[in-house]
Symmetry: C2
Subunit: 274 residues, 2 copies
Amino acid sequence: VILVNGERTTQIHVADRGLAYGDGVFETLAVQQGEPAYWDRHMQRLASGCERLGLPVPDAAALRADATRIFGIEDRLVLKILVTRGAGGRGYTPPQEVECNQILMTSPWPEVYDEYARTGIEVGVCKTRMGRNPALAGLKHLNRLEQVLASRELASEGLVEGLMLDEHGNVIEGTRTNLFAVKNGVFQTPQLRYCGVAGVMRAVILDELQAAGIPWVESDLALDEVLGADEIFMCNSIAGIWPVTRISGEKPRALAIGPETRALQDRLTGGMVK
Amino acid sequence: VILVNGERTTQIHVADRGLAYGDGVFETLAVQQGEPAYWDRHMQRLASGCERLGLPVPDAAALRADATRIFGIEDRLVLKILVTRGAGGRGYTPPQEVECNQILMTSPWPEVYDEYARTGIEVGVCKTRMGRNPALAGLKHLNRLEQVLASRELASEGLVEGLMLDEHGNVIEGTRTNLFAVKNGVFQTPQLRYCGVAGVMRAVILDELQAAGIPWVESDLALDEVLGADEIFMCNSIAGIWPVTRISGEKPRALAIGPETRALQDRLTGGMVK
């Protein structure tokens, strides 16, 4: 089901700046029993993304009302929300009065993700690097060609996910997940000042660690540091936590799913991941 | 007038990957008396962009036939061609069988551009930097948020164009133009290995210089080198050549429109720019 500005349609004008320039932001949410998980956090990130791009901040209550119209209480599904700068302006220059387009789309729950959470995944090391740009770092914007190119690499190797590095060789994230490495009981996750998406699940995990008094650090993380970690996992709002059981590439490494990763999964899901 | 895959419509499916991820490329052409300028060069760049992104290369003859359906012999207008990866795939991963969407759009000729070519323009220095990514450098792809953010800066200052730098402080290009600086009779233009769009007019100019035996060099170009040039101009397929008569910013500088710039304009337009 698709809603554009609250109306049921599958179409949008080709002059939309989302299509022309990737001029907009999006959110992807897990919906269970009619309840979008971490709704407030997703709305906060959406608002913050809009502010950074100079877009009017959408009315979260109106978005929520629209969202609940397109799924029933029984559903388990994925909800995607796109906000674009609409049409108009002269070339790259936005119009003075912006009328955003809001698109809501649902898609089936990817059942295989639950298996990945239980049994772990193999990740590759993507050749496609991420450009560094503080003006766009952290944002879940619509300029995602780097992720598309990296995902093409992974698909050709039959891999579910891969590590993406910046041009300095720091590991930043997966193509659609953030990364955590655990070393000597300390959780490490890449800092995202120069590139990467500041994932909602990443923020949930950092808060969870903080609340539990578990040490964590946000920092630069070289590939060798990741390869030398005791435990590694990837995360996002739909995946939850995917333990990494193998890193392929030039220096392949196998890992067991560690106790810290399992404990965190249990805390976040109430023991539902087994 | 808009054609999507040869049919008159203004709409496209919201699941198009061009909208979701900026997964596609585009071209912008000047059309005069029914003739798209530098058609073959634009088609070559379109093909090369598609190849680098793993998109099927469009049939240039079919595109030309579609294009001629949407403008008459009397027109002077701008033609924009977008090619997206269409819909489908799992998230960022493209579908195995790609069905591209081809969008052709015309828009009125920007008359003011002719004045800019005659009297020159003032350019600013954009705060928004360009990320470096060899995988995307040179491509005229649909991920253009950097240009949108830079254009917002310029609009707020009432400027027509501005210089964009990479994170190392090299001048790369304008927001929608390439840059040339002339120093002691040598034409310099930034190398585009790490970022920037390899413009068709830029290529036309380099070929023209080569043919005329005028020395030119493609290299890194620091802002101070640009500020110290004898002549500066910006170029693209619609603008032709815009002499720069003033650079604003921390070190403002006024320039005269130089003889090399005027001579090049004359060669490219048959003396039409006065």
